[in-house]
């Protein structure tokens, strides 16, 4: 485990595009007063809220281990603050089938990409999940649950990451029960 942590740290300290670009040029007081537009250009809200650079899309193949099912989990990520940073709001939908039921989870939550400009990033997230099970000869069984997820992603092309994740969930209210799944998939950053 220590070796893995060291390896992760070494890989995380890989090429840093932001550091290579150097620090932003500083303005003198007179220059800043004379060109306020230039100073405002470095603020996160200067990127329009609907700009493509704030969005990422992902598609994963997922296997649920609690209640056997397999399928796809597409998702959409949105960065409400800095478009180049790792704080994301997430919406996802699962389309999974198994020998006993069809499973349709809908997620709303948060995901953090640590060191998002490195080759290898760590991903952690959590949120709310509405789980629906469609069992032949039974009606739809739905329940509210909460999920947590963690994984790593490896940048294979300039805006694309290949990653693996583990996700756990628990429904604490009516019809309680846990969930556990594994995902493998690809994420694409739009914009820059």
């Amino acid at each position: 485990m220590l070796t893995s942590a060291c390896l992760l740290g070494v890989l995380a300290l890989g090429p840093n595009e932001e550091a290579a670009a150097g620090p932003p040029p500083e303005l003198t007081r007179e220059q800043g007063a004379a060109a306020p537009e230039a100073r405002r250009g470095v603020r996160w809200w200067d990127t329009p809220m609907g700009h493509p650079s704030r969005f990422s899309a992902g598609a994963h193949v997922e296997s649920q281990l609690v209640g056997l099912s397999f399928g796809l989990r597409p998702e959409l990520l949105y960065r409400p603050f800095r478009a180049t940073r790792g704080f994301n709001l997430r919406v996802g939908v699962g389309l999974l089938g198994g020998p006993e039921f069809f499973y349709l989870p809908v997620d709303v939550g948060w995901r953090q990409h640590f060191v998002p400009h490195r080759i290898l990033t760590l991903e952690l997230g959590a949120g709310y999940e509405q789980q629906s099970f469609f069992v032949p000869q039974l009606g739809a069984i739905t329940r509210a649950a909460f999920y947590a997820e963690g994984g790593v992603a490896f940048r294979v092309i300039s805006r694309g990451w290949l990653g693996v994740q583990a996700t756990g969930s628990y429904a604490p209210f009516a019809r309680p029960g846990p969930g556990l799944g594994l995902r493998l998939g690809f994420r694409w950053n739009f914009g820059r």
Partner: protein, 190 residues
Amino acid sequence: MKRAVPVVLALMFGVSAPSHAHRPGTGDREQDVGEPKISFAFYGELEDEDDLYVLHLDFDEGFALPFEILVPRRAKWEDHRPVFAIVGPGLPAPTQAELDLLPREVPAGAGVFFEPNDDAERELIFETFTRRVFWTSGPIAVALGEGEHEVWVFSPDGSTGDFVLGFGVEEDFSGVGCGDLTSDWATYAY
């Protein structure tokens, strides 16, 4: 978007099929149940026509306890009909037909409640903890008196396969750790 809203609402609050949650467990073919009032699901497998599981329940006072027996919904177990018999004080005397089916002699002074699990159409349920679908005999509450009781699970027609015996009323999942669930996961999982 207008059509999506009612669909989403229907998924969130839609008609729910019967679903149950019991504290899961496995064990030996003869064992004591420490707290029989706790909602419990005992997983087992009848491996041959003479196989028998015996659970010992001890009550300090009389209590009406619901019981049901379930079979995982798999095509190979469509004809698998395990039954259970509760043997103990205060229960009615068994009929001759029931005595012919019971795998053991009934102790003197004890009566029998017998669940034949012979409904033509068995009810289906979705067990929410393991996300499994089961045929069920349907829960039935049995008034049990103070004292020691035994629950016998067997298959009079000789069918073999998995079963789950559910009983109890109080929801209590404390003490059910991840280690317990993962070590027995092959029993609970599909």
